[in-house]
Subunit: 362 residues, 2 copies
Amino acid sequence: MTTIGVIGGGQLGRMLALAGIPLGFRFVFLDPSKEACARHLGEHICAAYDDIDALNKLAQHCDIITFEFENAPAESVAHVSALRPAFPRANALQTARDRLNEKNLFQQLGIPTPVFANIESQTDLDNAVKTIGLPAVLKTRTLGYDGKGQKVLRNNTDVVNAFNELGNVPCLLEGFINFNGEVSLIAARNKNGETAFYPLVHNEHRDGILRYSAPSENHPQQALAEDYALRVMQAIDYVGVMAFEFFEVENGLIANEIAPRVHNSGHWSIEGAQCSQFENHLRAITGLPLGSTAVCEHSVMLNLIGSIPAGAEILTIDGAHLHDYDKAFVPGRKVGHLTLRHANKTQLAASVAAAQTLIGSS
Amino acid sequence: MTTIGVIGGGQLGRMLALAGIPLGFRFVFLDPSKEACARHLGEHICAAYDDIDALNKLAQHCDIITFEFENAPAESVAHVSALRPAFPRANALQTARDRLNEKNLFQQLGIPTPVFANIESQTDLDNAVKTIGLPAVLKTRTLGYDGKGQKVLRNNTDVVNAFNELGNVPCLLEGFINFNGEVSLIAARNKNGETAFYPLVHNEHRDGILRYSAPSENHPQQALAEDYALRVMQAIDYVGVMAFEFFEVENGLIANEIAPRVHNSGHWSIEGAQCSQFENHLRAITGLPLGSTAVCEHSVMLNLIGSIPAGAEILTIDGAHLHDYDKAFVPGRKVGHLTLRHANKTQLAASVAAAQTLIGSS
């Protein structure tokens, strides 16, 4: 029996466990929150991420360690990695948690990115704006998510105090991309170097938070995206599922960011793919063969932000699969998602419309 | 947040929880075994089924109670039913746990059954054999499963000591049915009387244990089976999922037995139906609308008896979904199942053949 330790016990850890328990895996979660929503699916070590005793306990109780999020302290990652096999490896977390490392890696591998500059002061910013021009986006190098830690600079007034507004922390200034759309690629690579790629996913954000994801059919840039992803995964000998976010532009893709973990834009795969991103992550880190990433019927994922409509309403929608994360309702917080799956695309569209009406009014 | 108490913490409880946690439900299992395999998915009250303190605790910790198996003591069912809503209701368990009650109900509702006689002594048996003839099947009225508690009587020598051989307990003698095949119907009925039926499932047993289940396509007796199931569920105001086992005979179906719970022959529905039998049972007992029972692609379920082949082998099979129950390997014990799902029937057949080879040699 293999026991998997997960740093982080939120919804991603919860869904990893829901995918892994049928494979016979057991789970232990390290999460400082008493309310960590994965806690019902395994042992919960309720302690800070840098608590050495807790990290030792996690290693003692587990055979393999993985990460639900890339912002685990580097020292904690190094500590547990010395005690147990841990995937993704420290180098992947190190790359993904800092936008500068990420962009440098893209550049080094010949993957298009927005023009960028490292910003460690307002002076750096003022100088970079002269080169990159406006509009541009200032982003904190670390700890940004769901649109947090970002500021669009449209004119010189926006620039004046921007570095201070983002907290006087290291930032990246990125040239503004006039994109046609946003897509992500969920990729998996196992310990033997075997890889698998899901279809490119169309994503729609609102207020910086993902709202809508749907796998594409025969996306013209599928092969290009897989090529970029393969370069990154091979360069860092990556093991696990990795998400790549791209801007769609005329005749190509521009890499935005990577996440060294299962990703919100891959949640549709639980029902919509033969083998979900969660199962494939677990297969990858435990050295099992990867599962098929082929789609199963047609599907769309909608995030449930802040609250969840009543089950009696939402479950009447044809093809609705509810994922309630068992988290307290807080405005702007991801508390669940809904996957709509159908063999028939017209019926799927009707279900999506019905769900959006319900979610919009909730 | 609704917490569901389950009497029994085996693989059925485990799969109920795996289906219910995404709906936001929490689970508590009452099971006397320290190794109850559902224990990783919720609170485990480790106590005997007739332990009143444990039953009180279960009721205190739960909003709704359900049953993983029909052999919970009648007094325990009555006790918890007085404290919390409990589905299926005591009358359904009472009917299903005794083959005589079951057969009487079928007869009363005009549902064909084998001829049968109640047997409480060897004399009863000798007399019944004169009327029913041989071959016939002697079955204990209660506690039989997976072919246990049964004896086929082919000639008078088999009859001589049969009542004693089955333990001197009340039995039913049933006329032998020369059937063409065995099918089951998984049906659901919710608190509002809404019903849903999965396609009839073809089942194959070996040594009394289910080995193979596959949903049928346009089975000619689908409507008949649904009519029989509806009669039973309406007659006892049933709430939850119920399984009906039938013998297929020329131009009809003969009812064999019912199970007032999710059923092994419905496990394919986790991947193979839009909404699984586990989710529909939970929807039914919590008063939610039932989910679609339409199939999703094509699927076959194979039981894993005694042991499970290595993941590295079994997971290379295209379309394989492993369900490892996390139970100790014991010869003859159900320790997992495998669902093979494919959009393409030819590929499905190839995957089934590959899996059967692997299981056969494991």
